[in-house]
Symmetry: C2
Subunit: 214 residues, 2 copies
Amino acid sequence: MTQFENNNFGDVLLNRHSVRHFDKDVKIPREELREMIKETITAPSACNLQAWQFIVVDTDEGKKKLHEFYMPFNNPQIDTSSAIIQIFGNTLAFKKYRALWDHMYEEKRISKEELDKVYNTFLPLYEHADKTMLTADAMVDSSLAAMQLMLVARAHGYETNAMAGYDAKKAASVMGLDPEQYVPVMGIAIGKPDASAEELKSVRYPVDDVLKFE
Amino acid sequence: MTQFENNNFGDVLLNRHSVRHFDKDVKIPREELREMIKETITAPSACNLQAWQFIVVDTDEGKKKLHEFYMPFNNPQIDTSSAIIQIFGNTLAFKKYRALWDHMYEEKRISKEELDKVYNTFLPLYEHADKTMLTADAMVDSSLAAMQLMLVARAHGYETNAMAGYDAKKAASVMGLDPEQYVPVMGIAIGKPDASAEELKSVRYPVDDVLKFE
């Protein structure tokens, strides 16, 4: 298993906070970024569809593209972070689905009966779904992965900022993806914090404001 | 800080897997469930809107309600888990927003200038947003929290199953929420695994299938 720099679950989860100003001199090796995504995609997804797509932006040219669709209040994060991981939902992920389950059957991880159940129960739900459902499912899957990524980054010794303010109509095409298939979910800036910058500590509503028992 | 039963980040994150058959004899105290939600809502959200709502279902009457809108393939999880935490997105969370930021200003955590910035930059984005954007934002916020909840549960010594197959039109009203304001995101069954049940270990696409560098 991966040796995490910070393997203290309570610290990773409870002390995570948004960082908007990073140390510009820190570069994260691509192999480590790839490893982080690999850990990230252990996240669950609806019917294991894994309707997520990651674009790791760590070059000046890539960051220029982000400026084309992000609102200016995200500039500090984009310009100072080591990388931005732009996450898109893949609304047509179900098209890869048969191949995944066929593979599981070939490897004898599931029986013919289980394979047929997938083909006859879950797959038709997606093949007949409308765009709204496919978009919602892809956004939920991608958000689950996004949360894992923020925690994984912290376990690797980095901090993050999840960025939501962008022109949703432009994001996919600027990043070279088909905007009919891919919906932007969020960008995650990652790096080492700039120690000299002051970061706002956000507060939460009291838990009983958002919790009921039945 | 909370003393987690399992505080090993790598184990919590990388060895989490879906459990569909739970030990029916295990009851989780409501105070512990409440504590788990409190840890869960350290998740970030777009503009700190915290557009999530949790309904913890741990009674037979509550579970009966879930059966009214969940598809039958979720029955094992609903019937055997200690509790199901039904998560809804609150599309009108921005209406509580002024109170939250006023509170931060009163406590001198932010300056008048920062308060004005929130009022003039972020709040109008929501006040003028259409239903589609408000729904998408609420679903993303809630999914970030959902992922934290699954990890928090495992750190407390439990396992989970995220359930997505339900009648989205019925969920809110059956649970006593206004369906115009609240959108269902997912249910999370939680409990101790039934040691005698076999659980399918799911696989993931290779990381390079869903990853590009820019």
